[in-house]
Amino acid sequence: MTIAAKANALWEYANPRKFLATSERVLPFFWITSAALLVVGLTWGFFFTPDDYKQGSTVKIIYLHVPAALMAINCWLMMLATSLVWLVRRHHVSALAARAAAPIGIVMTLIALATGAIWGQPMWGTWWAWDPRLTSFLILFLFYLGYVALWEAIEDPDTAADLTSVLCLVGSVFAILSRYAVNFWNQGLHQGASVMRAGAVTGTDTQEKVSNIYFYPLLLCIVGFVLLFIALVLYRTGTEIRARRINALLARERVNG
């Protein structure tokens, strides 16, 4: 199959029936694999890794903080992609997928902010600082809340999808900023990337990186969070498709008397 044919095959999932049938088939894999990876990764990290020489046992927070922060940003980028599909091709499933993903993004951002504050208190001596990365993450969290509120506030689903898609485009600036803010401004408390940096993983740069003792269980947790995110998005998009069908059926019933 050529790349063009594969890309065309992807649009088949814009059909709600095809999307529901496929997602129900693959969901057990994502639920089970994500749960297994998270249990193994968190158990390994929590029970079987040593304390860090600088940070003591607080280093164990990395197994929740880093994956949650990664997913908080990537969830918004996924919403950006599906919102663009909605704006360009008007596929309802893509708009509903963005809507379904937003509460997941809220929880991921909240976990990243909460674990960051809990971790920051003993390490930096403060729960919060107006640091570039922390501030852009807080703004991203507010964008998530605004996005969900906008969906709830507008009655017509197509208008809601249009306006939330535009909001998603604007919020993407902060999603990207929250990833790269530390590279633009040096005055922040938050450290630069030390895990998902090509040079850090391959060992080709000389900057400080996460030791392999912590990196391997962290990698399991990151993959576990990604798979959990996929499972939740598929499941919740299915719910949104069914909720939309309920509204359509009730409207038809009203018309027929």
């Binding site: 968190l42 003591g56 046992s57 927070i61 674990t115 809990i118 939740l232 059926l249």
Partner: protein, 52 residues
């Protein structure tokens, strides 16, 4: 069973408790709403097929 967390025990345990609670709540809420919506849709479809 719990490893020696030293003076940061409260910090580490509260971070884990908050995160696991939030993740658990997200999964449970998603599944409960999904089941409710699916049941409601099936009920409406059955009612409509009965009424022709």
């Amino acid at each position: 069973m719990i490893p020696e967390l030293g003076k940061y025990a409260d910090t580490v345990l509260s971070a884990y408790a908050a995160s696991i609670l939030l993740l658990f709540a997200l999964v449970v809420f998603s599944i409960l709403r999904g089941r409710k919506v699916r049941a409601e849709m099936e009920k409406i479809e059955q009612r409509m097929s009965r009424n022709g």
